[in-house]
């Protein structure tokens, strides 16, 4: 877990002031913001790590870095509150504060050489995508990739370009997409992710499942995975908690004695079972 | 053990045995002789925890809000101020009268726990009454299902507006300085709001996710909080004095509340909140002959 922040001695809460160079509208309520700074990429996160995005005078909040380029970071942000509401109104060129990377990120060694089942729901695909793209860039380190993703409706599907083009070109990679409610020109599967997962029925042999989505979906996905006898150590998820400082000091994001912003947000189900169920 | 305590335990045991109520809320002995603290009894055999002594100052009305969705009834012991607190919640449509069983306790006035702690048990006789009991006008509960013991004589120990008139004589700079130094000490713990039966809004203007009040603790923010809360309970404040008793920093909050009550009495006629849940609220309705000095 890297804690080297470039401004040694200065407060870890001090952001780097960067700039939004591109805004992609994924869905009516999700936009992806490409952020860079004068010195290029503000920080280099591992897959699953978070960044604290601040837009003053409104406020700051923690978001997963969905993917990154050589000199920019991408944050996929759903409109859900005051800050995210304002973020959805800004234009390219807007100054934006960023600090990080925070959190432990996905345990890469656990995935090495294994087949991986990615199960995402709605905006939950954002953190999962950082791992998918990492696997695509280091394809040989990993086994078969099986991406299962669902959203409320076809227009709510995030990262359509990846889903229907880029990821299909990757070796040994299947992409299964479902929606809760289809519309007239939707040809794909219609149904909830947990049921869809059981239809696809990936084998637990030498496989790691990585899931992230709304709490209700996670509850049933975990049940389905158990039915397909995935062991708790084979299931990895990333939690959303209210985080304020991002450096394990403000005491807010604790689950038991663990701080989600430092010891998380990524936990295996085995670890979660040890922790009090208060998340 | 005084006979009120005995009677309290009897009634509680009966109510619970006959399953007329799911829970009985009363006082039990706390850590020290000057602590009588709320207790929630659900089993008849626990009724013997109940006590009635000179330190039962805690007002339960606000705690009833946690049980408004309980399917059964809740019994609660009410002094004069507690009963007005219950009326406050009924009138604000927060709890329903038929869901609570009220056991009235005529109140001789409670002793000041903070001073009792200083003086110690030997000098207990010298402990004065709580500030809020000095100006109490209704020691006998105004609403109850059953009354324990007979009513106590109503003797006004201190006119509740005396302090106000005295304070009004000061110059505006003195007043400003007084309130500045008082609210400089506020640590924004919101005990005064959380203990107040009149503060029963579902979501409060001072909750964090509404940016009306900055959480930075400074003089203007604290005064904004104190004053706005005084205005929000204007005409509904039952003057139970719990806010002043609960304040860890000893800020004289009741001065603000009594000032507003005095103004309401002068502008809209004699009125004491929480006496009759059906009556009109002075600031809740409009009369043609309402004064309008600023027209």
């Amino acid at each position: 877990m890297c804690n080297c922040d470039d401004n040694h001695g200065a407060s870890p809460l001090l952001p780097v002031v960067g700039k939004v160079i591109k805004i992609v509208e994924e869905t009516p309520d999700v936009k992806t913001f490409h952020v860079t700074s004068d010195e290029g990429k503000p920080f280099t996160p591992m897959p699953g790590q978070l960044g604290m995005v601040s837009l003053l005078p409104v406020g700051e909040a923690m978001f997963s870095v969905t993917t990154q380029g050589p000199d920019h970071l991408e944050f996929a942000i759903k409109k859900a509150g005051t800050l995210t509401g304002v973020l959805h109104e800004i234009e390219v060129g807007q100054a934006i504060g960023v600090r990080g990377p925070y959190g432990n990120g996905f345990p890469i060694d656990l995935f090495k050489g294994k087949d991986i089942v990615f199960i995402g729901g709605g905006i939950g695909l954002a953190p999962v995508r950082s791992m998918i793209n990492y696997c695509v860039e280091n394809r040989d380190n990993f086994g078969k990739l099986n991406i299962i993703y669902g959203a409320r409706s076809p227009e709510d599907l995030c990262f359509k370009e990846d889903l229907f083009e880029n990821w299909l070109k990757v070796r040994d990679t299947q992409v299964h997409v479902t929606v809760d409610k289809g519309d007239d020109n939707w040809k794909g599967n219609v149904g909830f992710v947990p049921a869809f997962l059981e239809e696809i029925n990936p084998t637990p042999e030498n496989t790691i499942a990585l899931t992230c989505g709304p709490p209700i979906m996670i509850k049933f996905v975990l049940q389905s995975l158990a039915k397909m006898n995935f062991q708790p150590e084979q299931i990895v998820t990333t939690l959303e908690m209210r985080m304020k400082c991002g450096v394990g000091k403000c005491g807010r994001c604790n689950i038991g004695s663990k701080y989600v912003c430092l010891d998380g947000p990524v936990f295996t189900l085995a670890e979660l079972n040890e922790m009090p169920s208060e998340y | 053990m005084n006979q009120q305590t005995a009677r309290m335990r009897e009634i509680a045991r009966e109510l619970l045995e006959k399953k007329e109520v799911e829970m009985v809320i009363g006082w039990e002995k706390g850590t020290f002789f000057y602590n009588s603290t709320p207790v929630f009894i659900t089993k008849p055999e626990d009724a013997d925890k109940l006590i009635w002594d000179d330190y039962c100052a805690v007002n339960f009305a606000k705690l009833l809000m946690d049980y408004r969705y309980l399917d059964g009834k809740v019994a609660v012991f009410v002094k004069g101020c507690d009963a007005r607190g219950v009326n406050r919640l009924i009138q604000d449509l927060v709890i329903k009268r038929e869901k609570i069983y009220l056991i009235g306790m005529p109140c001789p006035g409670m002793k000041d726990a903070k001073i009792a702690a200083k003086l110690g048990q030997e000098k207990e006789a010298e402990v004065p009454l709580e500030g809020k009991c000095l100006y109490c006008t209704h020691p006998n509960p105004v609403i109850y299902d059953v009354l324990i013991g007979d009513e106590v004589p109503v003797e006004i120990r201190e006119d509740r507006f005396a302090r106000i008139k005295e304070f009004e004589e000061k110059s505006s700079d003195e007043k400003a300085q007084f309130w500045a130094s008082q609210y400089d000490r506020c640590i924004r713990c919101y005990a005064c709001r959380n203990v107040c039966p009149a503060c029963n809004c579902r979501s409060c203007v001072f909750d964090q996710n509404q940016d009306w009040l900055e959480r930075a603790v400074d003089r203007s923010g604290n005064q904004f909080y104190g004053l706005v809360r005084a205005f929000h309970v204007a005409g509904r404040c039952i003057e139970c004095g719990e806010c002043e008793r609960a304040c860890p920093m000893g800020i004289p909050i009741m001065l603000l509340k009594h000032k507003i009550s005095k103004d309401i009495n002068e502008l809209f006629g004699e009125y004491e909140a929480g006496l009759d849940p059906e009556g009109d609220l002075p600031l809740g309705m409009y009369k043609a002959d309402d004064p309008d000095e600023f027209m």
Binding site: K249, E278 | P38, I187, R188, P248
Partner: protein
């Protein structure tokens, strides 16, 4: 061991005040707190302060950095917070230890809180031992000694008409040497203090609590709590804070201020999900954080120093020492 006659105390403080700002416990409008020393200030030295000295190291509201509103360009400016040296006179051993607990939290685990660190480095502690702990004190139950704060710079005891001073660090020794004129040698026996009257069993409390997350006792304990912030804001070991900003026109200040796990919005997330929706979870979090999570996360560190401020000031007398007793009484697996 040196001795300082009580008559010379004002002189002693005035002399110290020349080189570094001295803070002393004084009653301000009925509540005692640590404020800058002034000639003629009337110190309260018979019992602990209502506001803990933690406020000097971790203030209730503290500015972090300034900023200009982010438009096409945005700016944030580090605020000059060069902290001059200061002296805390009359801090009690339990509060000195509470700073050690905060050191673990603010200065370890990969990140250092620079604001707290600066104040900690600049602060010199002259601790006054408690000859007669108050009825609400139970520091001894946590293994602390009311007469001695090992990490204080100077340890002081009340010897009747004089104070007995013992330097415990170089900085402390320097202060003693600089005030040699006012001090005399003391040969006699230091006074003996009384033990705490309030005691609770704290050994093994962490292990005891680990299986009790779903225990029904939490319902019973939390019922009378009114979820105000009094206990958390007066506690010397509570450290939770919120990070916010206040804007005035084009510029603003990013600041942090105390926050309390007792408030419902503490864990409320965008989209409405709240892992601690009711009073029970919040009251449970407060006690588990002190008795289990801090010891678990910081290898046996304690989360409560038994100062008793929350016992004194809780509007409904939810007494932390009785909670501990209750947690031992109930059978573990109900």
């Amino acid at each position: 061991m040196k001795s300082l006659s009580k008559a010379n105390l004002p002189q002693f403080l005035e002399a110290l005040n020349q080189s570094s700002q001295v803070y002393v416990p004084v009653v301000v409008d009925g509540t005692s707190r640590f404020i800058p020393w002034e000639q003629g200030a009337e110190l309260v030295l018979d019992k602990n302060s209502n506001i803990p000295p933690k406020y000097l190291f971790f203030p209730q509201t503290e500015d972090l950095y300034g900023y200009k509103i982010y438009k096409q360009s945005g700016e944030r400016t580090e605020l000059p917070s060069a902290m001059e040296p200061f002296v805390v006179f009359g801090i009690r051993p339990c509060d000195v230890y509470s700073l050690e607990v905060l050191d673990d939290i603010f200065l370890t685990k990969g990140y250092e809180d620079v604001h707290y660190k600066q104040k900690r480095e600049q602060g010199l502690l002259i601790s006054l031992g408690c000859l007669e702990p108050e009825a609400t004190c139970f520091c001894e139950s946590w293994g602390l000694n009311p007469l001695n704060a090992p990490t204080a710079d100077i340890m002081m005891l009340d010897g009747g008409d004089q104070f007995l001073l013992k330097a415990q660090t170089e900085a402390g020794q320097k202060v003693i040497d600089s005030q040699a004129g006012l001090l005399e040698e003391f040969q006699g026996e230091p006074p003996v203090g009384k033990p705490c009257t309030l005691t609770v069993e704290t050994k093994g409390l962490m292990e005891r609590l680990q299986p009790m997350f779903e225990h029904a006792v939490w319902d019973e304990i939390s019922r009378k709590c009114i979820n105000c912030g009094t206990c958390t804001y007066l506690c010397p070991t509570c450290y939770c804070f919120d990070v916010l900003n206040k804007t005035r026109g084009e510029e603003g200040i990013k600041y942090r201020c105390y926050d309390s796990c007792m408030y419902p919005e503490y864990t409320l997330m965008a989209g409405g999900h709240n892992p601690r929706p009711t009073k029970k979870e919040r009251v449970r979090q407060r006690f588990l954080h002190k008795f289990q999570y801090i010891p678990e996360r910081y290898e046996g560190q304690i989360g409560c120093v038994g100062c008793g401020r929350c016992i004194v000031k809780c509007p409904v007398n939810l007494d932390i020492s009785r909670v501990i007793t209750r947690l031992w009484e109930v059978e573990a697996d109900v």
